[in-house]
C-alpha cells in the first residue's frame, strides 16, 4: 500500500498549501468586499465566485491554456524564472486553491459584514490604526464564520480532481493525489488498490470533520 501513503501525503500537502493561500487571499478580498463600496463591486463578487460553479474540467482547461508553457502567465513564468507549473505539485496547489477560494471569500465577506462597524469606529476613536483595528476587533469578532468557510475550502481542496486531472500528469509523489490515484487504479482494474485508497480517503475526511468540531470551541460563559 506504499503508493496509497504517498498519495495521502501529497493530497494533504496540496490541500494545506491551497487552504493557507486561500485563507490569506480570501480574508483580504472578503474584507475589501464587505467594507468598501466601489462601482462594479457585485460584479467582482460574482466573478470571484465563478470557480464554485464552473465545471472543474472547464477550470482545468483554462489553467492549461493560461498557465501552460505557451500561455501568457505560464510563458512569462518560464521566461522570467524558469518555472513550469504544469505537472508539479505547485500546479496542483494552484488548481486546488482556485476551486476552493470562493468558500473562504464568501464566508469571510459575510462574517465581516456581520461585525457592526460601530466596534471598528470605537476602536479608531480610541486611537488605533487600521491594522490594529482589524486584528484586535474585526478579526476576533469574525473568525468563527471565516473558520467555517476555511474548513469547507480544505475539504474541497482535498477532494479536487477535475482541474488537477487535466494539468497533473499523474506523477506519483508529485501530482498523483488521492482522488487521481483512485481514478487511475479503477481504470487499471486494480480494485484492491482502489478499495484501499477509498477507505484511506474516507478516514481522512472523517478525521478532518472531527477536528473541525473540536476547533469550534465550546461556549465560554460571558462570551458572545
Amino acid at each position: 500500500m506504499e503508493p496509497a501513503w504517498i498519495a495521502l501525503g501529497l493530497s494533504l500537502k496540496v490541500a494545506l498549501w491551497a487552504t493557507a493561500i486561500d485563507l490569506v487571499a480570501g480574508v483580504a478580498v472578503g474584507f475589501a468586499l464587505a467594507r468598501y463600496r466601489f462601482p462594479g463591486r457585485e460584479m467582482v463578487d460574482s466573478i470571484l465566485l465563478l470557480p464554485m460553479v464552473l465545471p472543474p474540467t472547464v477550470l482545468g482547461y483554462y489553467l492549461l491554456v493560461v498557465v501552460g508553457r505557451r500561455g501568457w502567465l505560464g510563458g512569462w513564468l518560464e521566461r522570467t524564472f524558469g518555472i513550469q507549473l504544469i505537472f508539479t505539485w505547485q500546479g496542483a496547489v494552484l488548481a486546488a486553491a482556485i476551486v476552493a477560494f470562493p468558500f473562504v471569500c464568501k464566508s469571510a465577506r459575510a462574517a465581516f459584514e456581520n461585525v457592526d462597524v460601530q466596534f471598528e469606529q470605537a476602536a479608531r476613536v480610541l486611537g488605533l490604526g487600521a491594522a490594529a483595528v482589524f486584528f484586535r476587533v474585526t478579526l476576533p469578532l469574525a473568525w468563527r464564520g471565516i473558520l467555517a468557510g476555511t474548513l469547507l475550502a480544505f475539504a474541497r481542496a482535498l477532494g479536487e480532481f477535475g482541474a488537477t486531472l487535466m494539468i497533473a500528469g499523474s506523477i506519483p509523489g508529485k501530482t498523483q493525489t488521492l482522488s487521481i490515484a483512485v481514478y487511475d487504479a479503477v481504470q487499471a482494474g486494480q480494485d484492491e488498490l482502489a478499495n484501499g485508497l477509498v477507505l484511506l480517503t474516507s478516514a481522512t475526511c472523517i478525521a478532518v470533520l472531527l477536528l473541525a468540531g473540536r476547533l469550534a470551541p465550546s461556549r465560554v460563559p460571558g462570551r458572545w
Binding site: L64, G68, R69, R70, I86, F87, L165, G169, S170, I171, Q176, D184, V186, Q187, A188, G189, Q190
Partner: protein
C-alpha cells in the same frame, strides 16, 4: 366551481410529463453501443456513420477512452455490444474475465508507435536512447496500467534497458489523446503516440522516429458477452472487416492487421 392553478388534473399532467421526459421513450431504432480505444476516434466515427446509412434501423453509439478504462466499464456491467481495443493484452484480459463472446474476436487493424515532438522543437531525438538526453526534460507516456500505447512504450523502453534513465522525466497521460495534446501544447518535449494520432495534429507535432514494437501494434475487435443486439453487433464487426471498413481505416493511416 373554481379550478385553480394547482388543480389535481393539472398536477397529474405535469407529473406525467416529468415521468415521460425522465424515462426516455424506447428508441424506435435499435441501438448499438461500441466501446473503442481512444486512437480509433476519427476512423470509427466515419465507420459508424457509414454503418448507419447502410442500416437505417440501427443507431450507433460510440464510447471512446483508453482501452483499460473501457475494459473496466464492461467488467462492471456497462451495456456495451462491441469492444475494440488498441492491444491484444487488453482483449486477452477481457477474454480471461469471460467478457467477450467466444469466437467473435478478430484483428482488424495495425498501427505504428511513434515518438512525436512539438512542431517547433529545436531538435528531434532520432532513437530511443536520445530520449535520455538532458534537452528532453519531459516525456508524455500513457499510464501503462490502463493505456495500451503506454504499455507498448514501456515495453520498448524496458527492452532497450532505457526505462531507469528516463523514468524521472515521464508524465503519465490518461489516454493517448491526452499525451498527444500535451505535445501539441508544448508542455512536454516528446510523447509516445500512434502514427495515426500524430497525423491528426500535423500542424502542431511532427514525428521524430518510429518505435519498433514487439509484439506489433494490432487492434482486435469482439462482441461483448450479453449484448442485447447480437445481429447488429455481428453486422458491425463484419462491416469493420469489410472492404469499406478497411478503406476508412487506411484513410486514417492504420495498417492492415
Amino acid at each position: 366551481m373554481h379550478v385553480g392553478v394547482l388543480s389535481s388534473r393539472r398536477m397529474a399532467s405535469v407529473a406525467l410529463a416529468f415521468v415521460l421526459a425522465f424515462a426516455s421513450p424506447v428508441v424506435f431504432a435499435a441501438e448499438l453501443t461500441i466501446s473503442a480505444a481512444a486512437s480509433l476516434g476519427d476512423a470509427f466515427r466515419d465507420i459508424g456513420r457509414a454503418f448507419e446509412s447502410a442500416h437505417p434501423d440501427t443507431k450507433v453509439q460510440l464510447n471512446f477512452a483508453a482501452s483499460g478504462a473501457l475494459l473496466q466499464q464492461i467488467a462492471k456491467g456497462a451495456p456495451v455490444d462491441v469492444f475494440a481495443s488498441a492491444d491484444e493484452e487488453t482483449m486477452d484480459r477481457a477474454e480471461q474475465q469471460k467478457l467477450i463472446r467466444h469466437g467473435s474476436r478478430v484483428d482488424f487493424a495495425a498501427n505504428a508507435l511513434v515518438v512525436v515532438v512539438p512542431r517547433d522543437a529545436a531538435s528531434s531525438p532520432k532513437t530511443l536512447a536520445d530520449l535520455a538526453a538532458t534537452s528532453i526534460r519531459r516525456i508524455a507516456i500513457g499510464l501503462p496500467a490502463s493505456v495500451p500505447a503506454g504499455r507498448y512504450a514501456r515495453f520498448a523502453l524496458d527492452k532497450a534497458k532505457l526505462w531507469p534513465a528516463i523514468e524521472a522525466k515521464v508524465i503519465g497521460a490518461q489516454s493517448v489523446r491526452q499525451g498527444l495534446d500535451y505535445v501539441a501544447r508544448g508542455e512536454v518535449d516528446a510523447g509516445f503516440v500512434y502514427a495515426t494520432d500524430a497525423a491528426l495534429e500535423v500542424d502542431k507535432v511532427r514525428v521524430a522516429f518510429v518505435v519498433p514494437t514487439d509484439p506489433p501494434v494490432r487492434y482486435p475487435i469482439a462482441i461483448v458477452e450479453g449484448s442485447g443486439n447480437l445481429a447488429a453487433a455481428r453486422g458491425f464487426v463484419a462491416f469493420v472487416a469489410s472492404l469499406a471498413g478497411q478503406d476508412t481505416m487506411a484513410r486514417y493511416g492504420f495498417g492492415k492487421p
